[in-house]
């Protein structure tokens, strides 16, 4: 699904965000990207949805050389993957329904298709009853679920999440992670950048740790800290 080969990224201001990163992510995978702030998690995600271009190396997402895309092809790529953020990035003057429908309008979808798909997606994220509300009238968890609905309404093969629970309380965090898991079981590849240790340790998925822009560890069914459960770290 995703193939990152020898990728380095240096920002114009000279900051080196990624240093020779190579990573393969299989179709249907659920992967956590962990590491402290500024280690390149967000940068890695940005490369995948072509919000940044690598200084070196190549990136293939679903058979497409993402690092070579320009203009309208970037737009086309983004329609085939979903992205969610810590700050939700919703359009505040649009209702929940309109926010989700917007992602379909952009693709040129037919109105009939939109009217069929949006309620289905809102149902999946449990917001069918709040479809006429504006983001400001929703809780943080509900806003994030709206963002998830927008991200998956076009049935993407890949869902990228940049600190999806960073602004949420533990209860909402658990709900959002359950939702992501459900989306994953339907076949969507999910990549979650986070530094929420309890989430990572509870779910026991593949964990890739970045340190200083390099891959430090890569572990199947891993913990937030390599080989250690949460309790062990706290006591140590």
């Amino acid at each position: 699904m995703i193939s990152i080969r020898n990728v380095s990224l240096t920002y114009p201001n000279g900051v080196r965000a990624l240093d020779n990163v190579t990573l393969e992510i299989a179709k249907g995978d659920f992967l956590f990207l962990v590491g402290s702030s500024g280690t390149g998690k967000s940068s890695l995600l940005k490369l995948l949805y072509r919000d940044a271009i690598p200084t070196h190396g190549e990136i293939v997402v679903d058979g497409i050389r993402v690092d070579k895309l320009r203009g309208a092809r970037v737009a086309s790529l983004r329609r085939h993957l979903g992205v969610i953020f810590q700050d939700f990035k919703l359009l505040n003057d649009k209702t929940v329904w309109e926010n989700v429908a917007f992602a379909m309008h952009v693709t040129g979808a037919h109105t009939r298709e939109i009217e069929r798909q949006v309620p289905r997606t809102l149902d999946l994220v449990g917001l069918a009853h709040k479809s006429r509300m504006f983001p400001s009238e929703l809780s943080g968890g509900e806003q994030q679920r709206t963002a998830i609905a927008r991200a998956i309404v076009n049935n993407p093969k890949l869902l990228l999440c940049d600190e999806p629970t960073g602004n949420l309380d533990p209860e909402n965090t658990a709900e959002i992670m359950d939702l992501l898991l459900r989306i994953n079981t339907k076949g969507t590849t999910v990549v979650v950048a986070t530094h929420n240790q309890s989430v990572v340790d509870r779910m026991r998925k593949r964990v890739v740790r970045l340190e200083d822009g390099r891959i430090f560890t890569d572990e199947e069914r891993g913990f937030y800290y390599l080989g250690l459960g949460q309790g062990q770290v706290l006591s140590g």
Binding site: D51, R70, A72, A75, K89, H105, V106, T107, N154
Partner: protein, 293 residues
């Protein structure tokens, strides 16, 4: 046809247009002021050009023959004039007719009846189609057989033509400057509305909107600015002309201000087109810097 899409698009334009009334008023006002100035300028220019043209049209070339000139020579010149495409019209004034005219013109001041013989030569009066050709036509006639002298208001033609050229150059410079300044002001106004919506633009691009898709509502908004602004300007110009023009013409009778020949509909259409173009182009360029590709 998917009417849902059309509705969605118009909804986007309408929503943007009604959201920030102050900003919209500023953009529309700028277009209106520009178009009023432009319209005023075009109208005055056309009127003045009309005054100049009228004066130039009255310019006549008088071609005098030698008293010894033969009828054959005169007929030859008639053929030359007829063949010359630059010549609009000509009349032959035989010396007897010339004397009659002289008598009429000088009646009461000079008594021409004391003349024992007619001292006037035969002549042609020639008018040309394009005033700028007067000098060339006059020169070409000067060398014809039997022609003694060719006379026209050389200085006044020269000055009028020069005035026309200067007027045209000044007006081009002024129009360009006016449009340039207006575009900058409008782009800046629109840039403010775009700036207020940069987050929205970033999100649109994030979910896969193409640059064109993001641009279209903004450009339509610009077209609306242009359209409404120009219509306001046309209303102001129309009212202004009805209220002031006749008074101005009365106050400055020596200018012979006559705007009857100025076709108003094409000007109105041009102004509308200019307004819409300014609005659309400024939007197009203002949003460019917020589109990341």
């Amino acid at each position: 046809m998917d009417w849902g899409k059309v509705k969605f698009f118009l909804g986007e334009v309408g929503r943007n247009f009604t959201r920030n009334a102050g900003m919209q008023a500023t953009a529309i006002g700028t277009v209106a002021v520009t178009v009023v100035l432009l319209g005023l300028f075009l109208f005055v220019r056309l009127t003045l050009a009309g005054v100049g043209d009228r004066l130039l049209k009255q310019i006549e070339i008088s071609v005098y023959f030698h008293t010894s000139a033969t009828t054959a020579q005169e007929n030859h010149l008639r053929d030359v004039l007829r063949a010359d495409r630059r010549v609009a019209s000509f009349t032959f004034v035989p010396k007897a007719e010339g004397l009659k005219q002289l008598r009429r013109q000088t009646q009461g001041s000079i008594d021409v009846s004391i003349l024992t013989q007619n001292p006037l030569p035969d002549k042609f009066r020639v008018r040309v189609t394009d005033p700028s050709e007067v000098a060339a036509v006059a020169d070409s006639l000067r060398g014809q057989p039997g022609v003694a002298n060719v006379v026209y208001g050389k200085t006044i033609v020269g000055r009028l033509l020069q005035l026309g050229v200067v007027l045209r150059r000044i007006s081009i410079v002024l129009i360009v400057a006016l449009l340039f300044v207006a575009s900058i002001i409008i782009s800046n106004t629109i840039r403010l509305t775009v700036f207020a919506r940069r987050r929205e633009i970033a999100i649109m691009q994030l979910v896969g909107a193409t640059a064109t898709y993001v641009r279209m509502p903004f450009v339509c908004e610009g077209v609306l600015h242009g359209l409404v602004g120009s219509l306001v300007a046309l209303a102001i110009l129309g009212i202004g002309k009805a209220a002031l023009w006749s008074k101005l013409a009365l106050a400055l009778p020596w200018l012979e201000l006559n705007s009857a020949h100025v076709a108003l509909a094409p000007i109105a259409f041009q102004l509308l087109a200019v307004g819409v173009a300014i609005g659309a182009l400024s939007s197009w360029f203002s949003i460019g810097r917020y589109l990341r590709t």
